[in-house]
Amino acid sequence: MNRHIYLIFALIFFGCLPVLTYSQAVWTVSSADAAKKNPVPANDKSVNSGKSLYNAQCKSCHGDPGKGNGLPLVPKPQDPTSDIIQKNSDGALLYKISNGRGAMPRFKDVIKDEDKWNIINYIRSLKKGKTASSETSVPDAIIQSFEGKVELAFRFVDSTKTIIVKAVNPKEGVLIPVPGLGITVFAKRYFRDLKLNADALITNADGEVEVDFPGSLPGDSIGNVLLLARVTEGVSDSVAVSAQIGWGKPFVYINPRSERSLWNSTWMAPWWLLLSYFGVVIGVWGTIFYIVLEVGKLKKIGSQQAS
């Protein structure tokens, strides 16, 4: 029993630590501000616009909505789906976005009010039970978790350079499309793979998603790019498939050290430099040796004439 009390005390203490270290931990908003009504209707346009603003301005600290992967700052930037944020009134959210606090910047003059309302509409759209609307915000594009085995396959449309990834469930020799899975397509790169779609695409009724290949993306010497598709939402196992496609910009590697230059190694110096250096050195030192040989003659003349 005693131990439990200590534990509770400890929990309370550590729980309050951020509050103690940050004296203005309670973020009060005046009732007038909190009562402000949102004049922008929460339609798809507003939500989408709010989403891209969120990704550009908020995500670096607050993280991906629902994943709780915000930066570990004090006070912690909260997840927008969390109650802590959601329980604020629209007006309170506007005030907090506008004025900031601590590490949270003031967006008053950075984001115009209409856009702030868009962000708030987006935040509201994340409320538990609701899901993020994405580019493919068709009614059936809702992530559904799937229990069975999932396989992915690539299909390529050359004419439009479109990548199609199909998710199927192989069942007794029949491939049944799996809708509602979040899929991300990557291009293989050295340090980290490049996402070709910003947010997970949700498979449609055919179990398919479409991604446009970025035409200017460099491939190998003949333009081959290694693609990777991965189910990022909807299944618990990691499901991925990779394929190579020759749509990339052919990249021909030229070793910069193969060119003669002043910064290269000595034998890769420009010809004019090598020729003038050795020309001058040989010329001058040749003359010096000639003089030395001439002086050597003096002695011979001396001994010859003396005898």
Binding site: L262, W263, N264, S265, T266, A269, L273, L274, Y277, V281, V284, W285, T287, I288, Y290, I291, V292, E294, V295, G296, K297, L298, K299, K300, I301, G302, S303, Q305, A306
Partner: protein, 446 residues
């Protein structure tokens, strides 16, 4: 001067010249004291170098921003002073100017001594002197340092020949006269005289070789200081990034070199009692030469400072402000006034070209020349494109330390030592050339 004396007069005249010029070689009054003094400078410098080798270049005032200081200034000064051999013995010689005969060897001695030590001064500045052979083993032809090493070596070689060739007939005379000298000294005379018998063929060889060398040394000497200027001008730093650095350095070197020769002339005239050979006339002429080269140098100074000061580019402003009115202002204006402008004006008047006044003026000029090298090397590094931050205070300003100053004594002593030794072994004025001018029969100059 060109009339030939008869056999008897020839002999007497030669005898007189020999007596006058060889006498100082036998007179050792104060010599040991002088050598002791030089040795002391050597020991102080050597001690400083041991400290530097042990603890690293950190014992200097140099840091990451001003990373070239006194040592590099010394190097540039030494290269500058060595240029004079070329001017006196070669350019004036090729122009058939007669009065240089008695001072050409003094000029060559100074040139050789400074050039040899210039190469060693640069080693003092190296962080890893043990790796000096790498400069040849792993040479990169694109680096101005390699060009500098090449051209300094070449210049030393040619200067040595230009000094040794006219010594050959003199060494033959010395071999005959200095029979009481120690064995090793006589051996040196025998070696240097290389079988000299004053035959017409031998004269032909000597004269031809000297003419070739006199021509050859002009581009090499210009190169030695131009390439040294490129160590700075090849960088992008404000204050160094200028196209006139080559000629600016060369003309500055002439000023320093002429002053050095005048000081040398005065010293030998007084100490070696050569007033009959190095006369007021020679000082007068050298004074006129100093006026000429100073005027040219003054002209380059105007170009170097007025042009950027007119434009006031952002990066030049800091540099120029530091020189004109900032922390280097006192040194800058002192150097310009006392090292260039006032000497220039004074020397226009004949009385100031008398031996003593011109010698004093030359001392000012040469100190000014040395400080000028410091002003070229150091302030430009204090003004970087990006601010100097997050480093201790001593990274931002350069102040030479005691070790650097002590170590500077080493090459100075070295230069003086080389001059002393040559001047003790051989006459500072070429006997045979003077005798030839006086009309002495060539065939007895042996």
């Amino acid at each position: 001067m060109n009339q030939t004396l008869n056999q008897e007069d020839s002999k007497n005249t030669l005898r007189k010249i020999e007596d006058d010029l060889i006498r100082p070689l036998r007179n050792h009054k104060g010599f040991e004291l002088w050598i002791l003094f030089l040795l002391l400078m050597f020991i102080i410098g050597g001690y400083a170098y041991i400290i530097q080798l042990k603890d690293g270049l950190g014992v200097t005032g140099l840091r990451d921003y001003v990373s070239w200081g006194l040592y590099i200034s010394n190097f540039v000064f030494f290269v500058a002073a060595s240029l004079i051999g070329m001017l006196i013995s070669s350019v004036l010689g090729l122009l058939k100017i007669k009065w240089i005969t008695p001072i050409s060897r003094i000029a060559e001695m100074i040139a050789l001594a400074f050039a040899m030590w210039a190469g060693l001064v640069i080693i003092i500045d190296m962080g890893r002197p043990d790796r000096f052979p790498y400069v040849l083993l792993h040479a990169r032809l694109q680096s101005p340092i390699l060009w500098d090493v090449t051209v300094v070596t070449t210049y030393v070689a040619i200067s040595t020949l230009l000094l040794v060739l006219p010594l050959i007939p003199d060494a033959s005379i010395l071999k005959r006269r200095m029979t009481d000298a120690p064995k090793w000294q006589q051996f040196i005379y025998t070696m240097v005289s290389s079988g000299w018998i004053a035959s017409p063929e031998q004269y032909a060889i000597i004269r031809k070789s000297m003419r070739i060398l006199a021509i050859l040394i002009v581009p090499v000497a210009l190169a030695i200081h131009t390439v040294t200027s490129w160590l700075f001008a090849s960088t992008l730093r404000p204050g160094w990034d200028t196209t006139i650095f080559g000629p600016y350095f060369v003309t500055g070197a002439f000023v320093a070199g002429v002053a050095a020769v005048i000081i040398g002339m005065y010293f030998f005239r007084v100490n070696y009692r050569l007033a009959n050979y190095i006369t007021d006339f020679h000082f007068n002429r050298m004074g006129q030469l100093l006026v000429l080269v100073s005027l040219v140098y003054f002209y380059f100074n105007i170009n170097e400072f007025l042009v950027p000061a007119y434009k006031m580019k952002t990066m030049d402003v800091h540099h120029l402000h530091g020189l004109f009115a900032g922390k280097h202002a006192v040194m800058f204006w002192s150097v310009q006034l006392f090292g260039l402008i006032i000497p220039l004006i004074l020397l226009i008047f004949r009385p100031f070209r008398k031996p003593l006044p011109i010698m004093v003026i030359s001392i000012f000029v040469i100190i000014g020349a040395w400080l000028k090298r410091y002003l070229i090397v150091v302030p430009a590094q204090e003004h970087t494109f990006l601010p100097i931050q997050n480093v201790p205070e001593n990274f931002m300003v350069y102040q030479p330390t005691a070790v650097e100053i002590m170590l500077t004594l080493l090459p100075i002593a070295g230069v003086l030592l080389i001059i002393t030794i040559i001047a003790k072994l051989f006459p500072v004025i070429p006997i045979w050339e003077i005798a030839h001018e006086k009309g002495v029969d060539e065939s007895i100059l042996k």
